[in-house]
Amino acid sequence: MELQFSEVTKSFGDLNVIRQFDTTIRNGEIVALVGPSGCGKSTLLHMLAGLQQPSSGGLTADGASVAMPSPERTLVFQEHALYPWMTLLDNVALALEFQDKPRKTSLAEARKWLSRVRLVGFEDYYPHQVSGGMRQRCALARAFIARPKVLLLDEPFGALDALTRMTLQSVLKDLIEEERPTVVLVTHDVDEALYLADRVMVFSQRPATVLREVELGHIPKTHDLSAFADVRREVLNLLGIDTDEHIPTDSQGETA
């Protein structure tokens, strides 16, 4: 599904979050939006989901204006988006039940998807009984079960520890390869963006403007990102992270 922003502006009262934003996301492309907190990248994502409307400008999906949420464009939240009163199985099945699929087929599908994210044996657990990583696996299953054309990810692994995050990134990458939705990923994590995306857009502080776009192309990648060291350094520098090594001399070390 092709997503197109044309001159999109979004303000909350006096706060101008996005100004005159233009871009096209091609069908099947995996785009990562990277930028400082509060720069408006989540707002872009929520507009794509149809949860928020642009103040001005147009936003289309395959040429049709995006006016409200649709299961075609599903969103994975950072955390706490699973329903605590439902088991993992019911949480996943709910995505189909909301589309008026019969409960029996929904549950059968949900079982299949839970096994695809390696949660066999945890079907009847409640979200608070499992780890954060397992909750996000379940959230991925809930997103993919509806076979969305567009998958929107809002810092999906932001609350997880580094190791769990990398495992989940691999799970997500495999699912994307198999299902091939168009993906828009919002993240703070430059490595996550480089590992998952075909294109990385680096944003400035509010109002969000694109500082740099990096085309990586759709190539096989592993967590060893050494081949992308230059891009990584450049992106980090744009985000205000100093990558020049500071090796303190002996005298500095003593005074410090």
């Binding site: 929520h46 989901a49 149809g50 949860l51 409200m68 949420p69 649709s70 299961p71 464009r73 599903t74 969103l75 939240f77 706490h80 988006a81 329903y83 605590p84 009163w85 439902m86 709910l94 995505a95 039940e97 909301f98 589309q99 409640y126 608070h128 009984q129 809930r142 509806a146």
Partner: protein, 256 residues
Amino acid sequence: MSNTQSTGVASKRAYVAAIAIILFFWQVAAWFLPDFLMPDVPVALQRLWEELNSGDFYEGLGNSMSRLGIGYGAALFFGIVLGLVGGTLDMVRSTLKAAIIILQSIPSIAWVPLFLILMGFGNMPIIVVVAIGAFFPTALSVMNATESVEKVHISAARVMGASKMQMLRRVYFPAVTPELITGAQLAFGNAWRALISAEMIVGFSAGLGKSLAYSGEIADMTGVMTNILVIAILAAVIDQVILERIKHRLLRYQYL
């Protein structure tokens, strides 16, 4: 699990101790006062036993319980509906809440003369007064809980394509259940007080309140104390056994 069990035992012990202390003070009063003013505890228990073996007692009990059931049931139903609807409509919420707070401050028994004349001598005015007592705390707790349903839970349902009805049934209702139960227990206390006092005033056909008022009129203090005993035991059983059971059942996920 072990935790809830041990607190359950502790609270049972606390109840036994409390009952012993209350009966002790009653008995002390009975020692100092003449029998026709304050009967001994065993005398009242003896009377209670006789009552339990008489048909009249059950007629009154049945009448009172059906008035309670209808009034309290209707209050729960309308309270939940109004609470959910009011809580989701931003426009009317604060006005509605203010109205409830004002009406709630009127003791439900104060409505008796109005409904007695409006509806005539019979069951109806008692039932309505019971319902009024229980309705406000239910509606208020549901409305407050509806307001504070987590945004991400609503957004998640929207991106999964939930209809308004599905949203109400699958998201709002289970999300407000914990507070609804607290409200319903508060409402039960109100309903119970309203029932007994309305029966005492209206005095239509047999009932727990009427029986108590009648004992007072003929200065049968053993009867008065026996009736008070029945009213206290029933309230404790309904609240602590029946409502607590329902609570544990509905909120099963929280106790795992």
